[in-house]
Symmetry: C4
Subunit: 502 residues, 4 copies
């Protein structure tokens, strides 16, 4: 039957027979596939597939794989054809208390209008997202110090606002890699959009279209690249984020395709030779596996590594400076290195004719204690200025941005633009396209207001002189607290309410 063009409709019981490592079939979107030979090659490991051997794997498959995955990677001979889904026994999943509680929280979630800033979406998403999805999006490396430092580093900078400037008309528009944008921020690339919303990354595309915001398309999207490009309007600018494959011919093909579909920039990720250890993600994975884990207690090291590892095994850890010339030879898109974390690496990029860098630590998801981008930016820009490169070479940052004031600080220091990732995922996961649109609108409102209050009417007038950034390089690691003394101290209290005496 396999390979046969005139395929007959398969039944559930037929598929179910192939439920082992020796013969492993799975159903995805109503069609059966023979993945027996593919098992050892599966980037996410074979155990996750075997869990669905003989069964319908659609729900688990979707968020992790773009829809064209099976066509691309599984020989058509393994495509077994449609299954009569009514004959497939639905597993009685029992009562999932966690999911029930989540559904209850979703019913009570606040209206979109009650979200007044990007952090509000995060608070809502934390309550309404599936635990595994939340864990994947929100997690960072190790102790998540860098994850949080990314945000709090912005707090080390204060403004020096000008007054008595005519700010009747304020414009937030700018140009990024030579293309106009309504704002100096963009939606950066993040993986696995369907974990948060069934429509995945195209939600972001649509909201970006509404607001004339640049979107960077991720290699590891849940939607296929083409779906994302198709969802854009003619006037929309999209960039492409690239994880470089060990097999450069695949990379070449992907890059060529992105360029042909109109992408205006190639962002090569350089901070992820291997995807990071994110313990929240790993823990959420673990609990999914239920009681069988218990059996192995004490016996062997569990290799479960969360979603991040499952999807990234193709990435080439050998990628190096030597490869850059080759990239320049295969595309005319401006090339930007995403994830640069040192001054000297930035200068090297500028010197070899790269268009720019994104100073980034991958959202705090890779190396804990990597520096925050905003702090690094304050070191990078003077070095570029000293070499006269601050105009020709574009510097972007991402990580921890939640407020327009964050963006304004980066622009004052010299960034060309600022990438925002998680906040839009949270808006999308909670409220879909409308959520992302409101998130962008709120940020635009904040930005216009705050430029006015800074006494600045155009993006190009944002200068270091408007900042007090002296606090930037200072680390304030609190000394340990003296518990005994803290316990003995009787804190002052304001006058309390009177107790009515009846």
């Amino acid at each position: 039957m396999p390979g046969d063009e005139s395929k007959q409709m398969l039944t559930g019981p037929e598929v179910l027979k192939h439920n082992s490592q020796d013969s492993c079939w799975v159903i995805v979107h109503g069609k059966a596939y023979d993945v027996t030979d593919f098992l050892p090659e599966h980037p996410g490991g074979q155990s996750i597939i075997l869990k669905y051997a003989g069964k319908d794997a659609t729900a688990a498959f979707d968020p992790i794989h773009p829809p064209d995955t099976l066509d691309k990677y599984l020989p058509s001979s393994k495509h077994l054809g449609p299954v009569a889904m009514e004959t497939v026994m639905r597993e009685d999943e029992g009562v999932d208390e966690e999911e029930e509680a989540r559904q209850e929280r979703i019913k009570q979630m606040p209206s979109l209008e009650e979200c007044y800033n990007l952090l509000d979406f995060e608070a809502v998403a934390r309550r309404v997202m599936k635990r595994t999805a939340w864990a994947y999006y929100s997690s960072g490396a190790d102790d998540e110090i860098t994850l949080r430092e990314n945000h709090s580093a912005f707090h080390k900078i204060f403004f020096r606002p000008r007054v008595l400037v005519d700010v009747t008309t304020v414009s937030t528009s700018t140009s990024l890699l030579g293309h106009p944008s309504s704002v100096p921020f963009y939606i950066t690339a993040t993986a696995l959009g369907k974990l948060g919303h069934p429509d995945g990354e195209v939600c972001l595309t649509r909201a970006a279209g509404t607001h004339d915001v640049v979107q960077m398309i991720p290699t590891l999207a849940s939607c296929s690249f083409d779906e994302i490009v198709d969802a854009a309007t003619d006037k929309q600018t999209q960039w492409f984020q690239l994880y470089v494959n060990k097999d450069r011919s695949i990379t070449r093909k992907i890059v060529a395709h992105a360029e042909s579909r109109g992408c205006k920039g190639l962002f090569i990720t350089v901070d992820a030779p291997q995807l990071g250890r994110r313990e929240k993600d790993m823990r959420s994975k673990f609990s999914d596996q239920g009681s069988n884990v218990q059996a192995s207690a004490g016996s062997s090291v569990d290799r479960t590594q969360g979603a991040a590892r499952a999807i990234s095994s193709f990435i080439d850890p050998a990628l190096s400076w030597k490869d850059i010339e080759w990239f320049k030879s295969i595309t005319k898109m401006p090339i930007v290195l995403k994830g640069v974390q040192r001054v000297d690496d930035t200068l090297r990029a500028a010197e070899i004719g790269i268009a720019g860098v994104v100073l980034s630590n991958h959202g705090g998801r890779q190396l804990d204690f990597a520096p925050s981008a905003i702090e690094l930016l304050a070191e990078v820009m003077p070095a570029l200025r000293a070499r006269g490169l601050e105009e020709s070479f574009e510097v972007y940052i991402d990580g921890g941005v939640r407020r327009a004031t964050d963006i304004l600080k980066a622009l004052c220091l010299g960034a060309r633009g600022v990438g925002i990732g998680r906040p839009f995922l949270y808006a999308m996961s909670s409220y879909g396209v409308a959520g992302v649109e409101r998130a962008i609108q709120l940020l635009k409102d904040e930005m216009e207001m705050n430029m006015r209050l800074l006494g600045v009417t155009r993006v190009e007038d944002l200068r270091p002189d408007l900042l007090d950034a002296r606090g930037l390089s200072a680390r304030s690691v609190g000394s340990p607290v003296d518990s005994l003394s803290l316990g003995a101290y009787d804190p002052l209290v304001a006058p309390g309410q009177r107790v009515s005496k009846l």
Copy 2:
């Protein structure tokens, strides 16, 4: 009937017919007004008026509008005359649980004598004020970082007190803009006094009169300007705070009037080309609107922006340095720029013959991450001294002042006086005039005591030498905490009580 001098008494049902955008009447203080034509011009938007179309709007009208508003802005032809209020159906507002709980808290509020400092009033006010009023007074921009930094920045300064100085007699008196004052602090301008107390700003005037304290009259007072001036004694000094209108003829008229009524200083607000986003205020507004908000969930961006936006649309964002000469030409009052936030802007003000500046970030209500005034003061004064301007040019600060030590620090650094806003609003909202009087008395007591302990008997002897201000420019943004380690650490505890064994 409208415009008719011999107006007949209107009835509730008659008014109620005009309850739409097409014909919109409202009742205020027992008189009906036709505001149909005025709807599109209402600075606070028309929806808030339509909520009361055909009904009695007095309760909502009062805190936001000085009593002369309707006379000033609505043509007399739209004044429809008295309404027989017994015929107006009172809306059954149902049981307002929140208000009932508040009334209960008011019954149990502590006696005035139990308030020992300015912060005590704040704690009481938080419990007894209406939520919307509290939200309007207490809120700040964005994450309220500057709001709180204003207060905590004072904590970066320590004293270097002198001993063995004869401090039998201590005087806190000084002169502000050439007029004597019993103390070097003043009541600064704050909007919408009737939100906190039905008598509004005149409470502040009366307490200021009792204690010989200068009051700055706000443009956006709930009481009319004349009511506030009338409430003052002959010997009382009042200043006028000005929001500049897009229509300069209105501004000219207001300034001339203030001068004619005896105001001794003109404080032009320069840090508010647009009033800030204050999310607490916005959120409190939102909840007021009840269930109809829900209907629009997911559909459109809600434009509700809290009280601040509603009252400020007349302010001119084009106000600039070029306007200053004009102001000098229209008044003989000394002109002070309120809201200056940079050293160079201060110097510019001094150089063009302005009498002084108030270093201020508008109580943390405008641009988050604007610097605290006390920190800015420490940068401004050396620059003025270097130019020999420290005596002729008066520098004031406001924001975050809660203790006499705060005031003493500012004066040691070189401030002429210190403005205090919210604490007096909280005292007024909780205890009326007596509250404000006690608040001032407490501050005077603290000040006299602390001057004595500093070894200083006169305001003019407060000098930088009495401070250790080395900590001022340091930002201490705590590094992210290591949650796992914090959770694993077993804190030391003092010996516990013995458990009786029976």
Copy 3:
């Protein structure tokens, strides 16, 4: 009857007739006194006496007044003689819930052996002391910033311990003002010992005798000066702390008496021209007065100022440098200025031939934001060394000392000795003499152990080289926290317990 030598026994009803401002008698320790004329002169105000007019005032009188007070200050003509106490109606004080709860806590207090350090006593005392007593001892000025900074400033200093030093024999002995002491710390002067323990300051004297520790006798002791001296052994060293009276003849008499009784040092308090505002103390006072306070709500400023004000009205705010020569003329005791808070004042003291200073801010009870003594010490000693005065002039510090490491840090910086006050009061209040003895023993044990671990065997070898004091002058005032982000962040957690499924 008054003034009559052959006094008859008075009865309760007789005394009770004199219960007003016009004729005010009170009973103290079984004897009646006519205090009518004395009312206006009472340093603590007359209202507190009138509360006991016609009644037995012993319980309120005792902690505040040394036993010889009535003999000293009330003419013998006003001593009315003994009262038949069985005829005095005991006031039914009703059920005092607070006191009952305290008695319950006392029953369950931990054994003395469970206290392992000075902070343990503080934790116990907080639970078992009367609220007013705890409030008086533990309170500080204003926001109690200096109170706590005194302790935490020691945390800014780390050690640089030597190793491979023969530390078989370690000695903590030293000499203070030329007299030997077993340790380089002393019990400093604190007021109103009977608030904490019925025997008052003699508890401290006895424990000091046991351990060969110097005690500084306070002017404001609950015990009389002579009682305290009498309680000492022959070999014990005592110093005398002096509040200077407006009437210098009283001061001269007191000083001469102290010298004649063998005091070895005169410590003149210079940081208290007026006693501080301590709000905890004020609040505790307030609640004592019960419901009648309520009556005055809103009407007038309450002048209740806590215990501190009640006892200190005789102190001369005019005391100045000019007085020092006079002090040198009236005593041969070495004179030390207690409460110096600046480098220049220290140098001035050294230059005019004073024996030493105590760098102190009065335990954080006077001026909030006064510098901690340990921080000041680090500035003072280099200035003294630069003038060659570090040996001849003795510098002491007090405030915030809880650990031997605190003392060692002070000594390394150059202090001759360290005063400790509250911790011994807490030990005394909780466990009496045995408590103070154990507290001293614990501190000695810590000191010997820590000198050994520092690689030092003698007090005179404690040098600045053993410290890393670079952190001292840094102020770390935390930036305001970003509440929204803090609320949205999902902290990492260690693996939880498994939930048993039955």
Copy 4:
């Protein structure tokens, strides 16, 4: 009977007769011993032995004494021979609620696979270990400031990662004291392993063998030295940690034995002339003694000092630099000084031909406020480099290490290797050998991953240039918090859930 070769079986009642100071027998592992004469010499004091006089002391004996203790220290004449254990009355220990609760927690402990990092083991151990054992392992000196600073000091350092480096192959191997090791960390010496696990230190030996990690054998092990060496494989490297005995002949014998059994390094502890005061440990001891403690309340100073003191009385406080030459004369093992805490002491060690030092403060268990090793390292290495000693002289650190990033920071600064103690004890106490193995594996995984993300493939390429260590010497001791203001501030909150109205 005693001393008789043909010993008869003793009975419980016979032994029980010898239950006093006059004649004291105890049973250990089924044999009786007469310890009457030994009582005064017992390093842990006699009271602890008398508690078991006439009874079976095995459970208390085991964790504190290596199995060969009785043979070594008690003359064979005091070995009374076997006891018929069935005749020994088991004490009815009643219901131990604490132990029952602990057993319950053990039943619910998470599976080993749920531990993802070293801190996870600590969190589990805290729940499942006996209180006294946890107290002994986890406690530190005084307020445990250094204990926690050891960990948090690492947080002051951030990385400067390189990108675009080929990191396909990463190796963590290195050589320590000339012997190869799979990793640059080792298991450092810690006392009393059987408190945590019945098998004691051999658990660590076995896991070290599995992973090719060096183990440092402690003088104060629960297992005998030979048991620990015997548990190692042929290829395993072991070092020996030495507490120097007052009787140098014992020390000489021990060192010679260690060398003969193949130890590859002699680590002489120099930071413990006396073992520290650890109050958690002392408190846990106290509560063990139950109600009889109560009897002595108020009467005398309790000398109970926790486990640390009980086991360390033999250590020589006279050990000094003069002894070093002697050590060099008695062994060919490279000698390393463990516990050096100053730059000059490090240089002195280097100059007199010592092989290296361990910068260490004994895990924060000796002198509180001793500097963290990582901070000290940053001062030591430049001094060594300036003298050209950084290669020939090996510097190790220990204290506070929990993450591979901690290790990498130390190596970048110049450490040769990093010692880890408590984390492996916690893993052992919770999960035995498998726990320690997983802990090592996790650390290896982290290390390989993080080297890759740093852009480094070999240990020797870890250089200071990869760090931003500017924050290291800064002390951030938080200023006291303003309680009143904190209480009055109304924190921002994200939109809440909607309340369903039914």
